[in-house]
């Protein structure tokens, strides 16, 4: 398992796309922080990248990588290694490589300009988002044998989770505004990993506006110690769930 993971990581690290991704993140974060004297505003701009770009790159890159290494996987399967070991090593390799790129590109500048709890929360959230979309990409690649369809599915999933879902929730909210919808709304938002990540970071940065009436709900649901734990746990479930599903499918799949 160790060897396969190592191989995957070194293989990805040599990939030009990942280097480009790293450089791009670097460029974004350093320029945002050096142009903006208000670091909390900088964090908010970076949040947009974490919520849109990071998921997109993670899901598309992992997906393509899976299809490109199909022959490599077949080769490995013919060796005396357990299928689950192969799948796990690839997952760890992919997520570690992408997380490393995220950490070097965004994490270090964030730690430099916004040290403390806010920065740490931001980085942890970004890394979890990376892992979540890697695991979703792996699920897509196992669901679709055809490369084009697989990539299409992952783009649709990204689009849904990052953009459409919020629109639907907003629509739901306007439709049922006259009813006590605080709880269902909170639960709905908690079901989407991107929203979870956003709220997680907002609770650390935009505290003043959240102190009002909504703040009470916010805090009750996500802000307090247990609330934080619940939302972190939900994100971990989002990493583990799709991955476990893909693992089961891979175990049974006729290559």
């Amino acid at each position: 398992m160790k060897n396969i993971t190592k191989f995957v990581i070194s293989d990805i690290m040599r990939n030009r796309i990942i280097l480009f991704y790293l450089l791009m993140l670097c460029l974004f974060s350093w320029s945002i922080f050096s142009l903006e004297d208000n670091t909390s505003k900088g964090i908010m701009s970076l949040l947009n990248i974490v919520l849109l770009t990071v998921p997109l790159v993670s899901i598309i890159f992992s997906n393509i990588y899976m299809y490109n290494s199909a022959e490599f996987i077949e080769l490995l399967v013919s060796q005396p290694v357990k299928r689950s070991t192969i799948w796990k090593s690839i997952f760890i390799g992919l997520s570690v490589a992408l997380m490393a790129a995220f950490f070097i590109g965004i994490g270090i500048p964030v730690l430099f300009f916004v040290p403390g709890l806010t920065g740490a929360t931001f980085i942890v959230t970004g890394m979890l988002i990376t892992a979540i979309f890697v695991s979703i990409a792996m699920l897509c690649s196992i669901l679709m044998r055809d490369k084009a369809r697989g990539i299409g599915l992952s783009i649709i999933l990204w689009l849904f989770l990052s953009l459409i879902y919020d629109g639907l929730v907003l629509f739901f909210m306007f439709q049922y505004a006259d009813y006590p919808i605080e709880k269902p709304m909170a639960i709905l938002t908690a079901l989407n990993p991107v929203d979870l990540a956003r709220i997680h970071v907002l609770l650390q940065v935009d505290t003043e506006a959240l102190m009002g009436y909504t703040g009470a709900i916010f805090k009750k649901m996500f802000g307090t110690g247990p609330g934080m734990m619940v939302s972190l746990a939900l994100m971990v479930v989002w990493v583990a769930g799709p991955f476990y599903l893909s693992l089961r499918l891979f175990d049974k799949k006729d290559l």
């Binding site: 849109l52 935009d206 009002g212």
Partner: protein
């Protein structure tokens, strides 16, 4: 000649009476019984538990090395019932607790030209209480209480039906309202620090023609409230850290002809909340790091908001209706994204400071859950370009490119 003058003036001032261990009087009450108008009482350091001390003569009372007058948690500690009293340098502590007659640490009844200077007030129900006072100076006192619940504690400096007061350089902490004004006119509140009070740092009602200048309000439960008042001047105050539901840097309700200039609003849930406020001038303030910079309800009229810096607020402005009868111009908004081709220092395109999402949140607070999501950002952008829901008249036609140096 000089000696004669001095002699003359001394006899005019009156006698000097010493109170304290080993002096002519051991306690304050007998000394006050003996005193006549114009006398000066020097009270030595020590603990004086004498129930309620009533000052009903025109005397000067000076504490030496902070003598302690203790109300034993049963009495009103010091009652001033005469004009021209000076009360200086005492520690007044442990007044009684009663909601019927509101005992205070130092209470002034129906008097004029009283000065309360440099005292320390600890753990009183009301700190300094002035009713029907005229020309009263309250200066450099330190007032501290340990209130937990609003109903269980009185105000730090409570002024009622008075005129021409000077409240200067006091430090109030842990009371219900730090400074309370009701029916007080022609007064000034200057250089006070009011922190961590349970309700308001300053509570101001039916008090016309007053000014408060260079005060510092920090961490008060609900901030500062100014209500039902005309002609108030607010200069150079700092309003900080009032956070919570229904907490405001400053709450202005039914105010007219007020001037708010040169204040700083930092880290409040809502920095300024205006309801029924008319003909106000909001000028050269710094509004930074608040949840809402300015909440201006639709029932506000003829207000001028100009040359302020709005920076790092979650929402700069919010309102609850579509009617706009106020003027915004030449403010600096850090969210403004326009350009300045003619280099006159103001942006060439108008800025609509009202974010659609703050309007939505005003009606559906729960929508805050989606704040800063992509959909909402999209909504905001479109609305900024082509206002449809937010009133188009809500506009700053000359937004500044650079912040003011304030």
């Amino acid at each position: 000649m000089v000696e004669i003058l001095i002699l003359f003036s001394v006899s005019a001032i009156g006698r000097t009476i010493h109170v304290g261990p080993g002096k002519e009087f051991k306690n304050i009450r007998p000394a006050l019984l003996e005193a006549r108008d114009g006398d000066t009482l020097y009270v030595q350091h020590g603990l004086y538990k004498e129930g309620n001390i009533v000052i009903n003569k025109k005397v000067v009372m000076i504490g030496i090395e902070l003598p302690v007058i203790d109300g034993d948690k049963r009495y009103e500690v010091v009652s001033i019932k005469s004009d021209q009293v000076i009360f200086k340098g005492f520690q007044v502590q442990n007044s009684g607790f009663a909601t019927l007659n509101d005992p205070g640490g130092i209470k002034v009844y129906d008097a004029a030209n009283v000065q309360i200077l440099e005292n320390v007030l600890e753990n009183n129900f009301f700190g300094i209480y002035i009713q029907y006072g005229k020309h009263i100076t309250v200066k450099n006192n330190r007032i501290k209480a340990y209130g937990v619940e609003e109903q269980q504690i009185g105000n730090g400096i409570h002024c009622w039906k008075s005129d021409s007061l000077q409240i200067i350089g006091n430090h109030v902490q842990g009371h219900r309202d730090g400074i309370y004004f009701e029916f007080v006119t022609h007064s000034i509140i200057w250089r006070n620090i009011s922190k961590y009070n349970i309700r308001y740092g300053l509570h101001f009602m039916f008090s016309n023609d007053d000014a408060y200048v260079n005060n510092f309000f920090d961490g008060n439960g609900a901030g500062v409230a100014v209500m039902y008042t005309k002609n108030v001047i607010m200069y150079g105050n700092t309003f900080k850290n009032s956070t919570g539901d229904a907490a405001y840097g400053i709450l202005l309700k039914e105010i007219s002809d007020a001037e708010i200039r040169g204040n700083k609003f930092i880290n409040n849930t809502s920095a300024l909340f205006l309801e029924g406020a008319n003909r106000m001038l909001i000028h050269k303030n710094v509004i930074t790091g608040n949840g809402w910079g300015l909440k201006i309800q639709a029932n506000c009229m003829d207000n001028t908001i100009t040359e302020n810096n709005f920076t790092a607020n979650t929402f700069d402005v919010s309102t609850n209706g579509t009617l706009v009868l106020n003027k915004f111009f030449r403010n600096y908004w850090d969210k403004y994204e326009g350009y300045d081709l003619d280099k006159d220092g103001t942006g060439d395109i108008a800025y609509h400071p009202l974010s659609i999402y703050s309007v939505i949140i005003e009606n559906n607070p729960i929508a805050m859950l989606l704040y800063r999501s992509f959909m909402v950002t999209l909504l905001e952008r479109t609305e900024k370009l082509i206002p449809s829901i937010t009133p188009e008249a809500f506009v700053d036609n000359k937004p500044m490119i650079k912040p003011y140096i304030l």
